[in-house]
Amino acid sequence: MLESVLVANRGEIARRIIGTSRRLGIRSVAVYSEADADLPFVREADEAVLIGPPPPAQSYLDAAAILAAARRSGASAIHPGYGFLSENAAFAHQVLAEGLAWVGPTPQAIEQMGDKINARNLMSRAGVPVALGSTEPVADAGAALAEAERIGYPVMVKAAAGGGGIGMSAATGPEALQTAFETARARAERFFGSPAILLERFFERARHVEVQIMGCGDGRVVALGERDCSVQRRHQKVAEETPSPGVTPQLREALLASAVRAGEAVGYLGAGTVEFLLDVLTGEFVFLEMNTRLQVEHPVTELVTGIDLVEQQFLVASGEPVSFGPDDVRADGHALEFRVYAEDPVRFLPSPGAITQWEQPAGPGIRVDAGYQAGNKVTPFYDPLLAKLCVHGQTRDEALGRAREAVAAFQLAGPKTNLPFHADLLASEAFISGDYDTTVVAGLRP
């Protein structure tokens, strides 16, 4: 097993990784920016290194500062969490070149999946269904119009190097496409440093369903069930659940087999997620993208399988076999995750500020992965995720009941939060019925 690990991240995910490190006797090293000095993850790590001022470019995205911290602390591995440098192939290369273990897939796999156009082409060749769309970058607005004609409206416009829904928008006709293309290109340049754009067929009624995979290091890729992530605002996930209420056993078998094929096509190592769009009208699914890292919503998979995914990542990174029998993965019951964001619950605008009260729910079937506590300050420099409220029950109904109680019991004051939104979601007929798609939030907040 690894002797020590530097966690190149912050907030709830850093804390969560440090928790498993402690349980396994791995020495943990946190890195933090000046803005995060008081957060729990800094205190809970065995050692913490200040790496720079608050802006991400000067701290959590500063590869040189993080590698210097690894050298100084004698860390033997780096876990990148999600976001920041987690899908940066060049950083993964540097980590390995320093002689450290990289808790993630090979830099080659990150690179192959990082470019969405390349990933689509690769998946298509591997026999994974993809939506009609670009096979090469769309150079300008004129080319976008021609491509949209070929695909047929409505189309989705995306940054090829993108993620997190940034710069993504749907266009129903040529005029909207011009605007969508320019917006996508400007944001792609700014956020991802690459102006490459792709177009894809847009599904008006779709569920976002993803599959957790684990590349075991012995050549085997195992699927650990799906997660439904259709509750989204601004193309970003707000709540997730497993199993998906929209997936039949037959469909599940097909989805999981496709995800395994996707992982095998890039020789995938460790934890990864293959995202699909499920067309509600036809029941067909297409590959969306692959996230070559631990996913924010991984706890719901852990709650139903009983498998600690971070532990498996550590095992694979140290060349050891995973702790579960790949052939006897079983899902028990139903789990949901609610992302508690520092944002107003109506318009979903950011709401930084000092946390004056933080009392989180506890009890059977309740898990809270929190990045903050009372007295901490939520700054405008990072994403608005405060905590992930996760619930587990033997049935979906039981889990929904626990979720309602837990949302009501979560007392958080200071920044505005979206907890009232989650209460509305849990009271909505669409969500309760399980028959919802990616438009469910818009239906609740017209």
Partner: protein, 70 residues
């Protein structure tokens, strides 16, 4: 005279309008950035943009004056 103020702590990412501009209700004046999100600050009435109180890269606090429309 109308004052446009920041609704939250944010960084000023882009200043879109210039002093002296004729502004319509709903025009974007500046774009703020907070928590990885771009937030356009819009004029809530028409008039002349008499004063811009922020520059790109500034950090504004909730309630800070961003622009004055005359």
């Amino acid at each position: 005279m109308a004052e446009v103020r920041a609704e939250m702590v944010a960084n000023v990412w882009k200043v879109v309008a210039s002093e002296g501009d004729q502004i319509e209700d709903g025009d974007t004046l500046v774009i703020l950035e907070s928590m990885k999100m771009e937030i356009p600050v819009l004029a809530e009435e028409a008039g002349t943009l008499t004063k811009l109180h922020v520059n790109e890269g500034d950090v504004v606090q909730e309630g800070d004056l961003i622009a004055t429309i005359g």
